[in-house]
Symmetry: C2
Subunit: 286 residues, 2 copies
Amino acid sequence: MSSHFPLARLAVLGTGLIGGSVARAAHRLRLCRELALYSRGEEREVVTAAGIADVVTEDPIEAVRQADLVVIALPIAAMGPVLRTVRDSLDSKAVVTDTASVKLPAMRLFQENLDGRVRWVGSHPMSGGERSGFSFARSNLFEGAVSILTPPENPDGEALALVETLWLSLGCRIVRLSALEHDRRVAAVSHLPHLLAAALIRSVDCDALDLAGPGFRDVTRIAAASPEMWQEILLANRENVLAALRSFLTHLDEASVSLQTETGAALKQFLLEASERRQSFEKFPS
Amino acid sequence: MSSHFPLARLAVLGTGLIGGSVARAAHRLRLCRELALYSRGEEREVVTAAGIADVVTEDPIEAVRQADLVVIALPIAAMGPVLRTVRDSLDSKAVVTDTASVKLPAMRLFQENLDGRVRWVGSHPMSGGERSGFSFARSNLFEGAVSILTPPENPDGEALALVETLWLSLGCRIVRLSALEHDRRVAAVSHLPHLLAAALIRSVDCDALDLAGPGFRDVTRIAAASPEMWQEILLANRENVLAALRSFLTHLDEASVSLQTETGAALKQFLLEASERRQSFEKFPS
């Protein structure tokens, strides 16, 4: 663990699945001497009752005060207002990161609000799933996950090390990418699959749904996730999602033509390449 | 358990994942006094070594002799030759079932070879997954799965009860459908999802694949399955798969248009309906 840990004060803004899990892990692993959480509405009571934080507040300024690391785990739409509210109250030595699923818009908010004031590094821990909210948060949510860091153009080494150590402590494998490249790749492996799962479950008649086995269950699981969250993600990354969709449709069309023309050899080759690719993927570190 | 169980002799033709799991379950649950398996090639040695059967033979005639229930767990391409080989050696009181994923062609083979000689009932246990072969067979594979029975037009009550009791004993929930209706519905919840998963994993660049999280893993898992088996299934059920694909593409296009035109409300409605549908599905008995 870097010499900065345990942190004097860690602030987590947002206590949904991701923010709540960061908080639970920080508490369990004693990553900070003081843990401050910004939580709103009904969830705040549940978060307070969990007894993991020193401060649970509806005031983001109170949460970030004297924090050496601030993790913003809020929808992108909420990130801007919160950043404008807290930017003058951040410690000049603080490092700010976020957990947004689309990094270009998050980076722009950091640039507008923090550049020249406070150091920042973008993060995207590829965890989560179909459930949301603090009640599903767990301290081991990030174990074995990839956390993608999207640093600014000329990153501060210390800030980068601090954010990297946070995710490493939580059990992540680190990948560094530009925000642009992050958004392109994640469109393909996360955002498009969500859209496909949603379209698939909508396209199946209820009488057929009753027959579905574990394969269908797996394929469509992510479609159960929060529509509000996914609407925001898909719109924020629409150009990349549409490009990934075009690529997918090209491949699907190839299979469809093989089926229509009953070209068994081509269909088998299509399935063989997919199978090999999926099997080699299973061997990747996760 | 029906009065026919334990069976005097159960014959399972084919010892891949499905046939092997039927055999393992029959052994564990003592569903028969004698268990005879038809197994070929290298797998036969492994099956013999498992010590679960009284007879493991490369001769299907030897396997079916005096069996009161015969389960054919072979690819459709192998079913015809085996049926022609064994039909004159079947006990006149025997009942024959199969486990093929597409029921119309399997039904035609039963009609051609067994009608007027021996009673038959089609079965399709909706289990399996991305792995195949005897080494993955397990006695609890069918627990909690749906088994779809596709009886002939004027089914024999006793034959139907016998096959139904087999799958109930193995832990299945039973659904009865015509072969036609089976093939239509299963195209939507099993065959099309396989094609989509294969097209998705092919469409993703390797650099993006390295970032994939548990969601992507779930969506694409089934694509790892045997290309030979799936080529046969998709071609055998091509009309229904193509119809399911058209329905899927209509829904996907709806989402794509919402994204292209940045119509957030429509996109959210699309995702909301998918999420509700997926959540209600999770409550179904499985």
